[in-house]
C-alpha cells in the first residue's frame, strides 16, 4: 500500500491543474467537488498508508519512493523522491486530513464569491496543500525547497485573495517579502551543505554531518543558523514574526490552513528533520529555545490586546509555534511534533469556529462588537470552547494539556533544557490562558450587539465537531508517566528522531507530578484571571487603559511590540529615502552617456552618407589603398 504515496501530493496538484485550467467554466458545485474531492481522496490514501505503515513498518521506519531523477549536473543529481517516516507520516496526516476539513468548511464559507473566484480559491488551496505535502515528503533538500517556495507563493496568492482592496495586497506582499528574508538564509544554508557534501539528500547529510563536522565547528554553526533563519521566517518567529498578524487579510479558511496544517509549521518540520545538524551545534539549539521562549511571551502579550478575533488567534499561533521551537531547542523533538499535531487540531478548530462566527455576523471581526453569540450558535460555541480549553491547556481533558505539559516537563528536566526556559514557558501558559478566556468571554458571553446574518450549515459544522473530538482525544495517545505512562506517539516518532535524553529515570515521578500540578494551576489561574478581568469586572481593564502608562502599554502590545515600526525605520525608510534621492538614477547617467556618444557617432557617420554612388566607391578605393599599404609596407 505504501506505493500509493506519490498520489498523496499528486492529487492536490491534479486538482489545482483542473481548477486552474477549467475553473472559469465550472459551476461552483463542480469546483467545490474537485477541490474538496481531491483532498478527500488524498486524505483517504494517507489514512490507508498510515494504517499499513503502522501495521507493518518498513525497514528502519523509512520508506523511499524515487519517482524520477530531477537533474544531473556534475555529480549533483537530486531526484524527485518521496520519503515516508514517522515524522512525515504525522505531517502528511495532519496536512491532508485537517486540510480536507478546512476545504469542506470553505464550501459554504466562500459561497458568496462568484464562480470564477470560487474556483480560483479552491485552486490556490489545492496548490497550497500540494506544495506543503511536497515539502514534508521531500527526500532531498532541493525538493523540500521547491515545496517551501511553493508554500510561500500560495500564501501570497491566498492572503491577497481579495486583491481588490489594496490593503490585502500589501499584506500579501509583506508575508511574501518577510518570509523571503528567511528563505534567502535557508538557501545559503543549502549552498553550504552542497559545497560540503556534494548532495542535498537528507539521509546522506544526516549520516555525514557528525562524521565531517565536529561539534560546534564554525561550518555547522553557520549552517544551523542559516536553516534556523529559514525556519524562523516561515514559522513567524522572532524576529520575522511580523507578517503573520497581517496575513489575516485572507479568507478565514486560508488562515486556518496557514496556521494549522501548512506554512507556519514548515519551520518546525525543517528543524526536526535536520536535527542532527542542530545537535552538532548546541549554541544554535540554545538560540532556538530562546527564540521560542521570547516569541511565545511577546506574542502572548500582543494577543491580550487585540480586538480582532482573527488577530488574537494569529498571535496565539505565533506563541504556540514558540512552544514548538522551545521544544526543539531543548531537544524534545517528539514533543514538538506532538504539540504540532494537537495544535493543528485545536487551531484549525478555533479558526473555523471564529470563521463561523464571522460568517454568521456578516464579516464582523471585532470582538467588542460581538457578544452573546453563545445563544445564537450553540454548536459553534461548544466546539470553540473545547478548542479554547485545549489552547489554554486545561488539565486532563484537553489534548493541549498533554502536549504542552510534555514540552514544559522536558524543558525542565531534559539535558538541553534549562529552568529559565521552563519558567518562560510557564509564564507563557498563564498568558495563553488569559487571552484565551478573554476571547471566549468577549465573543460569546455578554449581551448581543450584532444580529445573526447567516447560519452555518452542516458543511461548516461537521469539521468543527470532528476537530473538537480530535483536539480532545488527540492527547490520549501520549500519556505522561503519572497517568499510566502511555507514550505511544513518542515511541512512534523516536523511531526516527532521537529521544530527548531526559532524566526520567533519576528525576523521578514526583517531579513530574509536581510540574503537572503547577502547570494545571497556572492554566486554571489564567482562565480565572481572564474571567475576572473581562467578564466579571471589565471596568478594571478599561480604567487601566485610560491611564497614560496603560495607554502606551496597550498601544505597544496592540502593534506587536513595535516590530513593524522598527523595521519600517531601519529598512523601509532608508531605502525609500535612497530611492527618493536617486530619483534621476545616477547609474542611468552612464547609459545615457553611452547613448549620447552613440548618437554623436551616428550624426558624424550619417554625414558621410551622401547617397552618391561614386562617393561610396571612392571610400572603398581609399580603404583598399590604406589596407594594402598597411599589409605591404608595415
Amino acid at each position: 500500500m505504501l506505493e500509493l504515496l506519490w498520489m498523496v501530493p499528486a492529487l492536490p496538484f491534479l486538482g489545482y491543474i483542473i481548477l486552474a485550467l477549467f475553473g472559469g467554466r465550472m459551476t461552483k458545485g463542480i469546483s467545490a467537488a474537485v477541490g474538496v474531492g481531491m483532498l478527500g481522496l488524498s486524505a483517504l490514501i494517507t489514512i490507508v498508508i498510515a494504517i499499513s505503515f503502522i501495521a507493518s513498518p518498513p525497514e528502519g521506519y523509512l520508506f523511499l519512493q524515487t519517482l524520477w531523477k530531477w537533474v544531473d549536473v556534475a555529480g549533483f543529481s537530486p531526484a524527485i523522491a518521496l520519503r515516508l517516516d514517522p515524522v512525515s507520516l504525522v505531517f502528511i496526516f495532519i496536512i491532508t486530513f485537517v486540510g480536507f476539513l478546512i476545504h469542506l468548511y470553505s464550501v459554504q464559507y466562500m459561497e458568496e464569491e462568484d464562480s470564477t473566484w470560487y474556483a480560483r480559491f479552491f485552486a490556490y488551496m489545492n496548490l497550497f496543500v500540494g506544495a506543503m505535502l511536497m515539502l514534508v515528503l521531500a527526500d532531498n533538500l532541493l525538493l523540500l525547497y521547491l515545496g517551501w517556495e511553493g508554500v510561500g507563493l500560495c500564501s501570497y496568492l491566498l492572503i491577497g485573495y481579495w486583491y481588490k482592496d489594496p490593503a490585502n495586497g500589501a499584506a500579501a506582499r509583506k508575508a511574501f517579502i518577510v518570509t523571503r528574508v528567511g528563505d534567502t538564509a535557508m538557501a545559503i544554508g543549502l549552498f553550504i551543505l552542497v559545497m560540503a557534501f556534494r548532495t542535498l539528500n537528507i539521509q546522506e547529510i544526516l549520516r555525514h554531518v557528525p562524521l565531517v563536522w565536529p561539534v560546534s565547528s564554525q561550518a555547522v554553526v553557520i549552517t544551523a543558523l542559516m536553516l534556523l533563519g529559514g525556519a524562523v521566517g516561515k514559522s513567524a518567529q522572532l524576529p520575522l514574526q511580523t507578517w503573520l498578524p497581517d496575513a489575516m487579510a485572507g479568507p478565514t479558511p486560508v488562515s486556518a490552513l496557514i496556521h494549522a496544517a501548512t506554512m507556519v509549521t514548515a519551520g518546525v518540520y525543517l528543524i526536526a528533520r535536520m536535527h542532527v545538524i542542530f545537535l552538532q551545534a548546541p549554541e544554535v539549539m540554545t538560540i532556538v529555545g530562546i527564540i521560542g521562549a521570547l516569541t511565545l511571551i511577546i506574542a502572548g502579550f500582543s494577543a491580550i490586546t487585540q480586538f480582532d478575533i482573527k488577530k488574537v488567534l494569529a498571535y496565539s499561533t505565533i506563541s504556540q509555534i514558540g512552544y514548538m521551537f522551545l521544544a526543539l531547542g531543548v531537544g524534545a523533538w517528539s514533543a514538538a511534533v506532538f504539540h504540532f499535531m494537537i495544535h493543528a487540531f485545536f487551531k484549525a478548530l478555533l479558526f473555523l469556529g471564529a470563521g463561523a462566527v464571522i460568517y454568521a455576523l456578516h464579516h464582523e471581526q471585532n470582538m467588542f462588537k460581538m457578544g452573546g453569540v453563545k445563544n445564537m450558535l450553540p454548536l459553534t460555541f461548544w466546539t470553540f470552547v473545547i478548542g479554547s480549553a485545549s489552547l489554554a491547556a486545561l488539565p486532563l481533558v484537553t489534548g493541549g494539556f498533554y502536549s504542552k505539559d510534555l514540552i514544559l516537563y522536558l524543558a525542565f528536566t531534559g539535558e538541553h533544557g534549562s529552568k529559565l526556559l521552563y519558567f518562560a514557558g510557564l509564564f507563557g501558559a498563564l498568558i495563553t490562558a488569559v487571552y484565551t478566556s478573554r476571547m471566549v468571554f468577549l465573543t460569546f458571553y455578554g449581551h448581543e450587539k450584532t444580529h445573526l446574518h447567516n447560519r452555518p450549515g452542516p458543511v461548516m459544522e461537521v469539521p468543527l465537531i470532528i476537530l473538537a473530538v480530535l483536539s480532545t482525544i488527540g492527547g490520549f495517545i501520549e500519556l505522561p508517566g503519572t497517568l499510566g505512562h502511555f507514550p505511544l506517539f513518542s515511541n512512534f516518532i523516536q523511531n526516527i528522531l532521537p529521544s530527548p535524553g531526559s532524566g526520567e529515570g533519576h528525576e523521578g515521578i514526583g517531579t513530574e507530578l509536581m510540574l503537572q500540578i503547577v502547570a494545571a494551576v497556572v492554566a486554571i489561574g489564567g482562565v480565572f484571571i481572564g474571567y475576572l478581568l473581562y467578564y466579571k469586572k471589565p471596568e478594571t481593564v478599561q480604567n487601566f487603559k485610560q491611564t497614560p502608562s496603560g495607554q502606551s502599554l496597550y498601544k505597544f502590545w496592540l502593534y506587536g511590540w513595535g516590530f513593524d515600526w522598527v523595521y519600517d525605520t531601519l529598512f523601509v525608510k532608508p531605502i525609500d529615502w535612497i530611492a527618493q534621492v536617486n530619483k534621476s538614477d545616477v547609474i542611468d547617467l552612464i547609459y545615457t552617456a553611452i547613448a549620447w556618444l552613440t548618437r554623436g557617432f551616428n550624426r558624424m557617420f550619417s554625414f558621410t552618407q551622401t547617397g552618391r554612388l561614386r562617393w561610396y566607391a571612392m571610400g572603398i578605393a581609399f580603404g583598399a589603398i590604406v589596407a594594402i599599404t598597411i599589409v605591404v609596407f608595415l
Binding site: 571612392m618 589603398i625 599599404t629
Partner: protein
C-alpha cells in the same frame, strides 16, 4: 608568342582607356568589345582556350549585346554627348586617377618584389575544366544556377511596368465624390447596397484597356 602577349596587352589597355573616356556610349561599348577580345587572345596564349571562347561568346557576345539593346531602348539623343562632356572634365577624373595610380604602384611593387614566376602555358583543355567544374565545384555550379535564376526573375520583375493599384474604394474616379454626396438613387440602404450598384463602370473598363495598350509598347 611573347610578342603576341605584349601586343594584346597594349591593345587591351588602349581599348579600356578609350572605353572610359568616350562620350558616346555606343562608341564606348565598341571599344569595350575590343578590350574583351584582346583579353580573350591573352587567355588563349595562357593555354586556356575554353575560357577564351567563353569570353568571346558570352562576354563580348551576349552581355555586350544586352548593353547595346539597353542603350538603344533608352533612345538617347545627340544632346547626351554634350551633357557627357559637361560631366566628364579633368577636375573630376584627376582624383580617381591619382588613387588608381597609387594602387597600381603598390600592386606592381608587390608583384615585382616577389621575383619572377614563370608561367606554365601548357593547354588545359575544356575536358579538364568541365571535370573540375562538375566534381570539386559542383556546389558552386548549383549556386551559380540559382544566382542566374534570381537574375532572370529580378530582371523581369524590375523591367515590367507597374499597374497603379487603387483601393476598391477609389476604383472609380468619382467614387469618393459619390460617397460623400449620395444621389437619390445611390443612397446606401440598410444592407449597405446602392440602388444602382454595379461592380465596374464604363470608365473603369476603358481605363484598364488603356493600361494594357501602354504595356504593349514595351
Amino acid at each position: 608568342m611573347n610578342a603576341l602577349f605584349y601586343i594584346a596587352s597594349v591593345v587591351a589597355i588602349a581599348a579600356t582607356i578609350m572605353v572610359i573616356t568616350r562620350l558616346n556610349s555606343i562608341h564606348a561599348l565598341l571599344y569595350l568589345i575590343v578590350s574583351l577580345l584582346s583579353v580573350a587572345v591573352i587567355f588563349f596564349l595562357l593555354g586556356a582556350p575554353f575560357v577564351a571562347a567563353l569570353e568571346v561568346i558570352v562576354y563580348a557576345g551576349a552581355i555586350m549585346v544586352l548593353f547595346v539593346f539597353v542603350v538603344m531602348m533608352l533612345n538617347l539623343g545627340p544632346q547626351t554627348v554634350e551633357q557627357e562632356s559637361r560631366w566628364f572634365n579633368p577636375k573630376i577624373w584627376i582624383g580617381p586617377a591619382a588613387l588608381s595610380a597609387i594602387l597600381i604602384a603598390e600592386f606592381i611593387y608587390v608583384l615585382i618584389s616577389h621575383g619572377r614566376q614563370n608561367l606554365d602555358t601548357r593547354m588545359i583543355n575544356p575536358k579538364q575544366v568541365g571535370f573540375s567544374l562538375f566534381s570539386t565545384y559542383l556546389l558552386g555550379v548549383e549556386l551559380a544556377s540559382m544566382l542566374l535564376l534570381a537574375g532572370i526573375i529580378g530582371a523581369y520583375h524590375l523591367g515590367r511596368r507597374k499597374e497603379a493599384v487603387f483601393h476598391r474604394y477609389f476604383r472609380r474616379p468619382d467614387a469618393l465624390y459619390e460617397r460623400l454626396h449620395p444621389k437619390e438613387e445611390n443612397k446606401i440602404d440598410e444592407n449597405g447596397l446602392k440602388a444602382g450598384d454595379k461592380p465596374l463602370s464604363k470608365t473603369n473598363v476603358s481605363g484598364m484597356k488603356q493600361k494594357k495598350s501602354e504595356r504593349g509598347e514595351l
